[in-house]
């Protein structure tokens, strides 16, 4: 997500799934969309039915490949090389969309004269410090060339020597919706004073060797079809075929879309893979246009929501950064000054921050006490998931809450994760079933006897989807509300109930405290109870009296005026959208990006279900943030003059008579800003964004082909091998894997850094339609288990013959971390690749089994190293090197933890005659 933020301004999908039906060509890469997002896959199928082409590039021939027009096999972990090859093709064959690129991107911007590329420094960019394995902001020089008029006051110079020309490596990401500050155990400032970039020098002829376009050309020049073929294992012709298809289906009349999922994100270079894709789509002019864009397919339900209204340690709701333990974040003003931006939409930063504090601390938050900004916790280190489990395994964590997650089976180096869980004093798990995380003390075949595990485990049965209400934010930023149909059975409760009542009890526990540090908890507004007792849809009263009202939570997220009253209800007047937010305390808003979802009492727009209107965008189905915009940056769907690029791809255009932007969607642009508007030399805020600058969240309103900030591992993507690979890095021999990746190396987490003959096979992990993630929701259901009943490994007949493995028989997979066993699925859907003169075998391993459930099996995550990329501390679970032998392995899960329920429901359907009972109830006397 930081990659999309770095390029376009928001870390979210630029388009929506239904819009794929308007595509002329869809490149699916890093995603197995047909299997992992089968419902959304109806839209690519619709595009295909209309004559569009689907391209699938993947290590395995999957169900997505089966319905694609073109399938290209590549080696797992070689994605940047393939995408770099496409970018190089577009540039060398001059197939980029010239008008679009010149007007809407930073292709013409000049970069700091001292910037050095990977091509000059043998594999790293300027600013790399090999000791800290980080890029140093003050030495990076990734910035735009300074404007000639840049005021040379003494103060500014000071900032420069501090932050360098590099707002580069560190600056933008902190402010704009990306996470992970590189706080490797110590607090350090992650921001420098933002700069004015709107007037940075440009060369519109694109000839200056320091302009972004020329840097791009030099950077990608070595990604020729032949080199790509040597890295990826596909043929040069296959790369050219894909490039031709994309180029032929981009431009004024046509658009191509790109879909990716965790097959890209879960790499040590994940952020840069997506950056490469963003560069490609921007050069082809496909962003902000119907049938174009980049669709980031999220890994599971409402993951987008949990980034927006953040559950991440380093973000507050609405992509405001969590303040850090740094003097410059001491005060609200300092924080806003460092994190806001003088130009672009982030000029409103303080309004959003103050409104959030008002929503949380209510009347306690006043201008004279800085709206209680000092109550927000400061972060002093990296508390993201992988470093957290690293700490846990070292015995540094006491207790842990797990809601809606299954880390014992679903996290890299599962053995080490379970070691961490065993070192806890207490663990709380709320789930539908007793997952691996709930039963690690009892069922882990590799763990010690239960008597030796000291962790106290509290298991809370959780309510399922139809038993609770709330909204889900899907992959395309769309909020959809679901109602509660029935009460959950027994003691099962919603996660919302759990958090709400935990908060209530904590407040009760500390109610007499006068310790200043408890004031934050005691002052937190926590009034989400139902105003009237809850009635279920069938008219009966709900059994659960202390369930909070999810509607009220959404109202707080939407926000209200603290000084105005709704005349019909007497309650505070709700905000109509985030543009209502003020920085004087007169508005409260718990998550500004969602503001507008609840514009008035009684109208929750996430509940809207209007599907039969003539507008092809269907704007009245659910609510998409921001402000119900379905395609982001949609100003770019019109040419610089404001006319549609073509009639066929008409979406948003400038109505000169009414002096407004109009079209099918909400404009993601100031609605009355004319295409010919040009900012003055001293323009600030949104006034600094010109009428031809569609990327309003960027300080210069342009898409960043070259990213001066936003990604901590480089302003441009470069190919590095995965942290474990059987091959050397052909392009940058001095740097085998990403120079900024973190390893967490130790006896529990050994890593084979260089190609080793002991691990000659490339393994990639995958999921299937039949199971859900690590299986906590599916391996307890016999209808799903019968479809995929056993852990298996997909391998080619060639590899099977070499290893003496037979189809359906057992095999053992080894990595430096251990071994697992699985059944063999020998299939021609995998085949050996010829790479750099050697045969490379690949195997596919699903990550959907563990030791809990009706069906059990080895967990591939036990083989995968703990590691973290520089931007978001993402682990590399999609590729590793391994060895395979025939036969079984000891101490693997073999016994189901629960008995099989052959029927989902033995009960007779009540109030229904025998003849009308379900046909499948095949019992005697039925």
């Amino acid at each position: 997500m930081p990659s999309l933020g770095a390029t376009f301004g928001r870390g979210a999908a630029t388009t929506y799934q239904q819009d794929l039906a308007n595509s002329d060509c869809i490149l699916i890469m890093g995603s197995n969309m047909a299997e992992a997002h089968p419902v959304g896959f109806r839209w690519p199928m619709k595009a295909k039915a209309k004559g569009g082409k689907i391209i699938h590039v993947d290590p395995r021939f999957t169900r997505t490949s089966a319905v694609s027009d073109v399938y290209v096999p590549i080696r797992a972990g070689s994605d940047i090389a393939f995408l770099g090859g496409l970018v190089n093709y577009v540039l060398t064959h001059e197939r980029w969309f010239k008008e679009y690129v010149l007007a809407y991107t930073n292709a013409a911007n000049l970069i700091d004269v001292e910037f050095q590329d990977t091509e000059e420094l043998d594999g790293v960019f300027s600013g790399y410090d090999p000791v800290s394995r980080e890029y140093q902001a003050n030495k990076a020089h990734w910035d735009y060339e300074k404007p000639p008029t840049d005021g040379p006051s003494a103060g500014d110079d000071e900032e420069d020597s501090d932050g360098g020309a590099g707002q580069g490596a560190r600056h933008e990401e902190g402010a704009h919706g990306t996470h992970g500050y590189g706080l490797m155990g110590g607090a350090s400032a992650h921001t420098t004073r933002p700069k004015d970039v709107t007037h940075a020098p440009r060369d519109e002829t694109l000839q200056d060797p320091r302009c972004v376009m020329q840097i791009l050309r030099r950077h990608f020049a070595r990604y020729t079809p032949e080199t790509v073929s040597q890295i990826c294992g596909c043929s040069p012709e296959q790369l050219i075929e894909v490039a031709e298809l994309l180029c032929d289906n981009s431009g004024r009349e046509r658009t191509a879309a790109l879909c990716y999922a965790v097959g890209w994100t879960q790499h040590s270079t994940g952020v840069q893979i997506i950056r490469a894709a963003s560069i490609l789509q921007t050069l082809l002019g496909n962003i902000g246009r119907p049938g174009g864009g980049i669709l980031a397919l999220r890994g599971h339900a409402s993951i987008q929501g949990s980034t927006d209204i953040s559950t991440l340690y380093d973000l507050l709701p609405g992509y405001l950064p969590q303040p850090i333990a740094d003097p410059r974040h001491e005060t609200l003003d300092g924080y806003c000054e460092m994190e806001g931006l003088p130009t672009g939409y982030w000029v409103h930063f303080k309004e959003f921050a103050v409104s959030l504090l008002k929503a949380w601390y209510g009347r306690e938050a006043q201008p004279e006490n800085n709206f209680r900004f000092q109550w927000l916790p400061r972060i002093d280190g990296d508390y993201s998931m992988v470093p957290y489990f690293d700490k846990m395994a070292k015995g540094e964590v006491e207790g842990y809450f797990v809601l809606g997650q299954n880390p014992a089976a679903g996290t890299s180096n599962g053995k080490r994760v379970r070691k961490g869980l065993r070192s806890l004093k207490w663990l709380v798990v709320a789930d539908w079933f007793e997952t691996e995380t709930a039963t690690f003390w009892r069922d882990d075949p590799q763990g010690p006897p239960p008597a030796e595990v000291g962790t106290e485990v509290f298991f809370f049965p959780a309510a399922s989807m139809p038993e609770k209400e709330g909204s889900v934010t899907n992959t395309q930023r769309l909020l959809q509300w679901h109602d509660r149909s029935v009460d959950p059975p027994g003691d099962c409760r919603s996660d919302l109930w759990f958090v709400y009542n935990l908060g209530k009890r904590l407040k009760e526990l500390y109610k007499d405290s006068i310790d200043p540090r408890d004031a934050s908890l005691l002052s937190l507004t926590w009034d989400y109870g139902y105003e009237h007792p809850l009635r279920l849809p069938d008219g009966t009263m709900s059994r659960i009296a202390d369930e909070p009202d999810a509607d009220r939570v959404l109202q707080e997220i939407n926000g209200w005026h603290t000084d105005k009253t709704d005349t019909t209800t007497g309650k505070p007047l709700l905000l109509s959208g985030f543009s209502d937010c003020k920085d004087d305390g007169s508005t409260a808003c718990g998550g500004w990006v969602y503001s507008g979802v609840y514009p008035e009492y009684g109208h929750n727009r996430a509940r809207d279900r209007e599907s039969h209107d003539s507008n092809p965008v269907h704007p009245n189905w659910g609510f998409a943030w921001p402000h119900n915009r379905r395609i982001l940056y949609n100003r770019a769907s019109a040419d610089p003059q404001g006319n549609p690029w073509s009639e066929r791809k008409k979406y948003l255009w400038w109505d000169a008579a009414k002096r407004t932007w109009t079209g099918y969607d909400q404009p993601d642009f100031p609605p009355d800003k004319a295409p010919d508007y040009r900012p003055g030399p001293d323009s600030k805020g949104m006034d600094a964004i010109g009428g031809t600058d569609p990327f309003i969240m960027k300080p210069d309103g342009r898409a960043w082909l070259f990213a001066p900030g936003g990604a901590k591992d480089g302003p441009l993507p470069a190919h590095y091998e995965p942290i474990e690979s059987p091959l050397h890095n052909l392009l940058h021999p001095k740097y085998q894997d990403s120079p900024t990746v973190r390893y967490f190396e130790g006896p529990d987490n050994p890593i084979a850094h260089t190609p080793e003959s002991a691990y000659p096979i490339v393994a990639c992990t995958f999921r299937m339609t039949e199971h859900y993630l690590s299986g906590p929701m599916s391996r307890f259901n016999s209808w799903l288990n019968e479809l995929m009943p056993a852990m298996f490994v997909e391998l080619s007949p060639e590899l099977a013959a070499e290893k003496g493995i037979v189809n359906g028989g057992w095999l053992t997979v080894r990595s430096p971390r251990g071994e697992i066993e699985a059944r063999a699925l020998v299939t021609r859907r995998l085949h050996p690749l010829q790479v750099q003169g050697q045969t490379v075998h690949q195997v596919g391993i699903p990550f959907q089994w563990g030791y809990a459930g009706e069906t059990v099996g080895s967990n591939v995550n036990d083989l995968i190293a703990m590691s973290a990329d520089a931007n978001v501390s993402m682990h590399e679970t999609k590729v590793f090197a391994c060895q395979i032998v025939a036969g079984r392995s000891a101490r693997q899960p073999t016994e189901p933890s629960v008995p099989t329920a052959r029927y989902a429901n033995w009960e007779r359907i009540p109030d229904t005659p025998a003849a009308a009972q379900p046909e499948g109830h095949m019992r005697k006397n039925s």
Partner: protein, 283 residues
């Protein structure tokens, strides 16, 4: 112009079912399935939706090693079954295919199972679909051997024959059958069979225009030996590749001839033995 999204999925939208189930004169058209295998993504949602709606038990957990197919075939407890056919030869990549097909009871217009049922348990219901009344079925199993597609199975638990009902109960309430409703890509279409046939023929033409000349319909029309199917398919390979009979036959086809031959053989044997033993007796 980008187009509105409605009408892109099921030909007959759920709210239209009541209207198409009977024409102006109250005559009901036959309702059926059209399964377009070129749209199938093998997600098996149809299998699960069928089991869930009908509360069918699982078949047990058997890893077959046969592609992604672990339920293997239609049976008394599996009324939708997705077949996976891998046709991959790494030498000729452009011809690589992984065929997927959601199989189901064909609801034959002249169904041999119905003709063979001695108790009258097997009927054509008001929607033109073949339906087993479980409370009348005596479990004789004639229908099982009569079906040329191997659709029907007999439950060891209740002793009755079972198969797809084309969601008789859902149709009665003007609802789309569970499998068609769950199909994310509309590979399974439900509606009046005549409408479906027309749509299917157009679809084949479209595919031919796009160069997919292997596409053809299976069971949309009567063959010399078999009636049309109310649940028919669009295939892209020989029927045998999908485990379908190339030319299904009714067991009753040629019955008169076979009875004639039997009679003749009986007569011949009688004559032969009469001659043989008769001659012997005289000795």
């Amino acid at each position: 112009m980008i187009e509105p999204l409605r009408n892109v999925m099921q030909l007959v939208r759920p709210e239209e079912i009541a209207a198409v189930q009977r024409d102006a004169n109250g005559v009901r058209p036959a309702m059926g399935f059209f399964t377009d295998t070129t749209l199938c993504i093998g997600c098996k949602a149809c299998e699960v939706a069928c089991k869930q709606w009908n509360q069918l038990p699982s078949d047990g957990f058997h890893f077959t090693g046969n592609s992604y197919d672990n339920t293997s075939h239609l049976s008394e407890t599996t009324w939708r079954h997705v077949a996976f056919v891998e046709q991959i030869d790494s030498g000729q990549r452009e011809k690589n295919r992984w065929l997927m097909m959601s199989d189901v009871c064909k609801h034959c217009v002249e169904a041999p199972c119905q003709e063979s049922c001695p108790t009258g348990a097997l009927i054509y219901n008001e929607f033109g679909d073949v339906y087993i009344q479980p409370d009348i079925c005596n479990g004789c199993g004639y229908c099982i051997s009569a079906c040329p597609f191997g659709v029907i199975g007999r439950s060891a638990e209740d002793g009755h024959a079972h198969k797809c009902t084309l969601c008789y109960d859902r149709q009665k309430d003007d609802m789309t059958p569970a499998c068609a409703k769950a199909c994310p890509t509309a590979s399974i279409q439900f509606g009046p069979v005549e409408t479906l046939r027309e749509h299917a023929r157009q679809r084949v033409e479209e595919l031919h225009v796009r160069g997919e000349t292997e596409a053809y319909l299976y069971g949309a029309d009567a063959t010399a030996e078999y009636s049309p199917l109310n649940a028919f398919f669009l295939l892209t390979d020989h029927p045998n590749a999908y485990n379908l009979p190339e030319a299904p036959k009714k067991p009753t086809t040629g019955m008169t001839k076979r009875y004639g031959w039997s009679l003749l053989a009986g007569v011949a044997l009688t004559v032969f033995s009469a001659l043989a033993f008769g001659t012997g007796g005289r000795k």
